[in-house]
Symmetry: C2
């Protein structure tokens, strides 16, 4: 117990993943006086690439190169209480940004038990170890999925949650929010910010950090970019008969670096005297784009054609989803600054330079 000489640290679970790695680099880029000095990442690498013989995942190695700073890394599964416990003993953890989770909607229908075990049991294990070490500050990686089928647009944080959820993934995010609300009721020491992401896209402007989905991408943007680079043949547009301007689904896409900046702002709230309780905050741009608008913007930014064909609607897809971002502006002093063109250009820069993601072959 010599925490008085240990520098304060932020623990980032899932820090080798897509949003996690962009948050790590943004934390390091924006580090200023009073911020925790150390970044400690735990990740089981279920979605993060680490070259054979290397001790750190490729994303974190590139972050260290780009920033000239060090990231502590532990290959640990958050369900392992003993391993988490040791990390809290080795570092003076001040707050936690909790990304670690499984996130593929379709896969969650096939493997619900795995999703609940990682996303709920893992999260409860993390809470248990945090509490054991007197750490009560948490930023949680939530999702607009908790809103289900929107009852109105744009969706603000008062919109009902937990209704009409169709996938174990979505339910797991909702259940975790309920668990966190109950924790905050039971003990005023907890201060939890649940950031409800809309649709994160894009990549770090260096083109060296980006989204590296394993297998066929589940999300639109990586799919488009893999079609543009020639790795996939054709984009399937799921449904062109939605009641939208061009018939395709509308989403609120947000640049991952804007999203990451939202997390950096969120942990500043912990410095406010008396800040506690559960706070859900949307992170989006407030503007929706259709699938066809995304395709057009990407073609324009990349100079490549994106062949696409219409397919039937997918079960569980909503017509449109757009965030009301007033609360984020008010409480975090944050707003998204990057345009759709920025999102496409940065995705393309990453995709072109890393056609196989972090894999070198």
């Amino acid at each position: 117990m010599q925490s008085y000489i240990m520098p304060r640290a932020v623990l980032v679970t899932g820090g080798a993943g897509y949003v996690g790695s962009h948050t790590v680099i943004t934390l390091l880029e924006r580090q200023s006086d009073g911020d925790p000095l150390e970044i400690v990442v735990v990740d089981n690498l279920s979605n993060g690439y680490c070259a054979e013989g290397e001790k750190k995942p490729e994303a974190l190695k590139r972050i260290e190169e780009l920033t000239g700073k060090t990231v502590h890394f532990y290959k640990v599964d958050i369900r392992c209480a003993e391993a988490l416990d040791r990390i809290f003993e080795n570092h003076n953890i001040d707050c936690v940004i909790h990304f670690a989770a499984l996130k593929a909607v379709g896969e969650s229908v096939e493997k619900p038990l795995e999703y609940y075990q990682v996303n709920i049991n893992g999260t409860c294990t993390l809470f248990e170890i945090m509490r054991k070490h007197g750490v009560y500050k948490l930023v949680y990686s939530s999702s607009c999925t908790v809103y289900g089928e929107p009852e109105y647009l744009p969706i603000n944080e008062s919109h009902p949650t937990g209704k009409s959820l169709t996938s174990p993934y979505g339910k797991s995010k909702y259940f975790c929010e309920e668990i966190m609300k109950d924790l905050c009721v039971s003990d005023k020491k907890w201060a939890i910010i649940s950031l409800r992401y809309f649709n994160p896209v894009g990549a770090h402007e260096s083109g060296r950090i980006g989204e590296d989905p394993s297998g066929i991408p589940n999300n639109l943007m990586p799919y488009i970019s893999q079609v543009a680079v020639g790795r996939l043949k054709e984009l399937k547009v799921f449904g062109d008969d939605y009641p939208t301007a061009d018939g395709t689904g509308v989403r609120d896409y947000i640049h991952v670096c804007d999203l990451a900046a939202g997390h950096v702002q969120a942990i500043k709230l912990f410095h406010q005297p008396g800040f506690n309780g559960f706070h859900a905050i949307n992170l989006g741009t407030g503007t929706g784009y259709s699938v066809l608008e995304m395709v057009a913007a990407f073609s324009n930014a990349s100079g490549r054609a994106v062949p696409h064909a219409v397919a039937p609607r997918r079960a569980g897809d909503v017509t449109a989803n757009v965030a009301d971002v007033a609360l984020a502006t008010r409480s975090l002093g944050w707003r998204a600054t990057r345009s759709l063109h920025d999102m496409c250009r940065d995705t393309w820069r990453w995709q072109e330079a890393n056609p196989n993601g972090y894999h070198r072959i």
Copy 2:
């Protein structure tokens, strides 16, 4: 792997608890040709009394005395995957009746993490080990709490669940039901019967097995009986201004031996060819009684006065709750046969003979 010579067994988690122990004795009393021969109980004894130096909890010892049959007992927490795994190796488990859970509504508000860890993580661990051993038949101990504030009465199984849930206890039951539904969608091998209990009361007619709550009882009937026996001074009636006949809350009380018989019927469904999927079934009587009716019936059955005083309503209490039990009759060939007088008489017989529950002092 010599399961071909091992007798088929029912695993009862939480089998030393109130509903669990009554189900164990009912299984043994009604054992007939074709039923599994062995009863295997796992219980961490968080709510079950075991005398010092004894290997089996008092409730199971009495069951063995009453029936002349043996119950296998393991003091195991369902969150311990390794211990569960060994039990599945030691016995030829055919199906599981899963009672093990924390169940005090008020305590769950104070200790939500403990409730979620036992009730959800423990249940997921059990599912994982069941699947590993090819066991897919489960009866789950659910609750009418999943319905929240009733939208209509009597409540049938199509009533919405998960809305207006106020306690971590109630949420944990609802979350588990959702997880089980998702499991059944993901793999047709699962056959899960979720029995939604209304208000279990009463005791085995021998007077030797009954409810043994630790500390001040949370539920009405054990509170009434402890007042009648002189262990508590006065019953608090929470609210007499509800829109009911006498102003006090109305509940559907069911004799615990009727409830236990419902479980015995439920496991017979597993013999039906092709029976699979998720099935929720109410277990109640279909008749509601008010707090004051319960007090009067108990006084009458016990011949003791039950002093009571009106106190303010408790947060989260609903006005009335009565089950539609048509599905239980149709699908299980079951209905409750014991009257309110039976419930009071059997509670009193147990309470009078065991003023301190299973504790001998």
